[in-house]
Every structure is written in C-alpha cells, then in structure tokens.
Symmetry: C2
Amino acid sequence: MLRQEGLFLLSIFLYLYFLTIFNLSDLKLVILGNGSAVPTRYANPTSQMLYYRGRQFMIDCGEGTQMQMIKYGIKSRRLDDIFISHLHGDHFFGLFGMLSTFHLFGRDKDLNLYSPQALKPLIESVFETAATRLNFKLNFFPLEDYKSTPLIETKSFIINCFDLDHSVPAWGFVFREKKGDLRIDKEFVKNRGLTVDQINSIKAGNDFIDEEGKAYKSKDITLNPRPPASYAFCSDTAYNESIAESIYKVNLLYHEASFDESMLELAGSKKHSTATQAAKIAKIAKVDKLLLGHFSARFKNYDLLLNEARQVFPNSHVSVEGDPYIIK
Amino acid sequence: MLRQEGLFLLSIFLYLYFLTIFNLSDLKLVILGNGSAVPTRYANPTSQMLYYRGRQFMIDCGEGTQMQMIKYGIKSRRLDDIFISHLHGDHFFGLFGMLSTFHLFGRDKDLNLYSPQALKPLIESVFETAATRLNFKLNFFPLEDYKSTPLIETKSFIINCFDLDHSVPAWGFVFREKKGDLRIDKEFVKNRGLTVDQINSIKAGNDFIDEEGKAYKSKDITLNPRPPASYAFCSDTAYNESIAESIYKVNLLYHEASFDESMLELAGSKKHSTATQAAKIAKIAKVDKLLLGHFSARFKNYDLLLNEARQVFPNSHVSVEGDPYIIK
C-alpha cells in the first residue's frame, strides 16, 4: 500500500516537473531584440526565442543576443534549431559569439542552422580565423532548398519558411501547431475507471460502449481539440501582399515596422515596411494579433507607429524585449 | 576697442572649447569590457578606449562594444585607429557590428586597423556576405610587420606593439607620451606681455633678455616639462617576464588576471595569467599602477584576485567598466 502511494506521488511529481520544464501546454515567444540595424538604448538587433513543448527555436541572432539572454535569464539547453532570416549583419552578427559561448560551456549535441547558404562558409572562416574548433556539430540547412518543403515537421507541429521582399534574399518563418486529438469530456471520465486503450480510442473519435452495453456517440463524450497555436515572423520585408497567404490566420504575427507613414517612400526604397503596412498585412492575413518590431533607431518611443497600425488593425501591439508572449 | 574685446572673448571661448573637446592635458582610459571569453552579467568581452589630445584609440572590440559605447555615452567621432591584440573572438567579434554602425551613421573618413593580418580577408568576407560596402576606407596594418617599428609616432606620442605569450599570436600595446617642452614659470610671464616667439624661445630652453637688457637663465624662469604619461595593455598572455621590458615604468598597466592562484596550472595551460602573476609583472616593470582585467566568468566578484595582486604589488586595482581612468 505504501509502495503504491509512493508511486502515485512520484508520478504526480514527475508530471508537474515535466509540465514546468516543458511548458507543455503553451507556445511562447520572447523577443530579445526588436531594433533595426543600429542598436540604441532602447532596442537591440533582431533575435527571438520561441518555446514549444520543451523545445526552443531561435529566430535571428543579432549582435548581443547572448547578452540579452543573460539579461532575461534565458538558457539554451533545449535550443537545437536556429533560423536566420537573411544575411544583413543585424540579423546574424551575434551568432559567432553565441556559438563560441555554447562551445566554451561544453555543448556537444548538434545544432541545426537554417539560413541562407552563404552563411556556412562564412561561419567556417570566422571560426578558423578565431582558432576555434567547435566541439559540437553545426548542421546547415540552406533556406534556398526549402521552397515547398517544411523546415521541420513533427507529429505536433510544422515550421515553414517563405519568401519576404527585401534588398537581399530574405525569408519569413511560420510555426503551426497541428490539430490535436479530441478531448474527452471530464464529466464522462469521472469515476468510470477507463483504461488507456479506451481513452485513446475515444480521443481518436470512436464511439464507446460501456460494460453494461450502453453506447455513447463520440460527439456526446468529447470536446473539440484545443485550437492549434501558430506564430509567424516577417522581418525584414517591404510591403508585399503575397506574404499574407503564408501566414494566413496565425495567432500571432511579428511584422517589421521600421518606419512611420511619413517615411513611406524611404520604406519602399529600403525594402522595409511602415507600421501601417504591417497592419495591412495583418488584416489581409486575418491574424489574431500583430506585434510590431524592427524599429528604426530614430524613434525614441513607438507611440506614433502603434497609433498608425491600430487605425488599420486594432489588435496591434508594440513588441517589448524580454516580455513573454503566450500564444494560445 | 569693442572689436578687440570681442576677439579676446572669442579666443577665450575657443580655448575653453578645445580644452573641453580635446581634453588637452590628459591621457584617459575607459574600459568597455573587462571580461574574458564568456560574457556575464558583470563583465563584457574586451574593449577599451584611450583618449589623448582629441584623438581616440580603441584597443580590441569584443561583441557588444558598440552597446557599451551607447551605455557609457562614448562617441567615435575622433576614433581613427583601432588595435586588435589577437584573433580570439572575445577580442574582435564586435568589430563587424560597430563598423556597420559607423557606415550607417555616414562615416566617410578612413579607419586604421592594426591587427593580426588574418583579420583583413575575414572582414572582407563578412561584409561581402552581409552585402555591405562600407562607405569609408579601412586601412589594414598587420601587426606581424611591426616588430621594431612604432605603429604610430607623432611629435607628442608613440604607440608600439610587442609580443605577448598566448595560445595564438597576440600583441600588447604601449602608449608613451613624449617628453614635452619646458614650462614657463607663471610668475615670470605675469604682466610682461611676452610675444609668441619669446615664449617659444623660452620653452625651447633658451635664456631670455628683457627690454632693459636684464638677462635671465633658462633654469630660473622655467619649470621641468610635465612628466609624460604612458599606458600599456597586456591581454591575453601567460606570465612572461620578457613583457616587462616593453612596458617599463608605464604609469598605468592593464594586465589580464583571468584566474586566481589556485588555478595556476590552468592559467599556464590556457596561456593566461593569475592575478599574482599580473602583479609580479607590474612589480618587475616598475609601473605606477596596475589594473586587473579579463576576468574568468566564474568570478562573481574580484576581491580574491585583488587581494592576491596587492600582496605582490600594492597599487593594484580591479578595473571597472565605464569608469574613466586619468593617467598623469
């Protein structure tokens, strides 16, 4: 009896432990840098960390990303995949230092790098010059090869890249959780002592017949699956409506908003977007929520950008470095 | 009369202006990073800015140097010379971002880079990959070519490099102000209305004969020149007494002290120094003051290192990022 109670307590403990470690239920985003090419007191070069079921995904790695991770207490134990949107320095100059630090901290498991192909020889040159032989393997996945193939696909999620419209080849990224199983109605399960096989059968959508021969329709004893969470990253890019298709109806969209509407021409010539344009894309793509970022160094605050975006897409927000965004 | 007064006021104003701008009288050091390879909450990768008579000299440029400059309000208008001690990443990974920022801020004057020769092709690769064509010229000066030649020599100062003892080729740097002119005794000048020619003649050490034919010996109307200021940078290096000669009697020495004495063997194998070893070099070289730096990430404070150093060389200090060190 004591042994059974011990096992029960152990399983509760393990469940809570893994729930904590893996944040099982949530997709979470932390923005490490929401500035553009020139860092300021207020904004660092681009980098973000996405968390999902015990995995971490980094998007871009501007200079100082590892310092931002220290500042916000962000570890990298579960980071195995880094995505680099394009090869402007403010999106990858932090890689060299961060990879060095991983090396010095003894990382030995592979790290996957999804980036424009020209990054591979450059990283090799940098570490050769810096007399550093990383003690982990870098696996390179050239984004040029993933026109229609997912970058990563598992049973529970899929990550794709898509073309942005910038002065150099640039890619956006979209993370989509897959539709989950049906959920069993808690009231129905209560005190019935169902076996694991019975539960899985119900979750798979089968009807159920109890010991007394009573039949229950699947729809009467299940709830719809939890709505799948999704997130898209679009930076750097000019306004381009073709992007909307790739990011259609995501829960959260991070879209660059380098400039305000008075700088529309500048935005066009530099292949960046205004806040209004970011909001237009959010509206066309019918996303739930828009986060603005990649702010030009000329802005001391982002009120103007926010106001402009909200006139087009009310659920627009200024991204805040270090804040956790839970994506439901 | 009014015109004369105006000119007088203007010259006073200009004098004060240039005194402010150029810090005419001082050699000043600001340390931007005193950490070692892995940045921490407390210490950034190596970089320092030296100021002398309106010129700025940067030594090393670890990741995040440009952010440290923002943090401490440090401009780069008068920075034309950057010295890179060696090609471990924590001493140069910040160059790419900082040079990009100079470019984006419209710098068009040349920048001189004194570094190991392998940095030149790497910088060219980085900016080619990042699709950035800097709108200023980078002049490369390979340290390998400066065994006995000064890196920079002017009428008032000289900068030399010398070999350190590290796991890759590494150089220290020493800045020495030249002996200045004699200073005219203020009491003597008072109310005498000397011409510029007369002042220069006295400063050059000549005797002086006044309008009434009275002769003054040079030694009676002059004071010794201000003692020339000097500074030396030694990081990264193992303990090596041959360094002492190059940095003999400098006013201020920054010497790496990566480890404490309990890690003596580790220091030797990694070709770094302990705090005690840094102090020994300071003592042998008879420097005035020692600043410890390049602290291993394992230290949360540097009391132990300071205590060890002071037992050998009492005028030892822990360097503090952002503090101005005036070198007399």
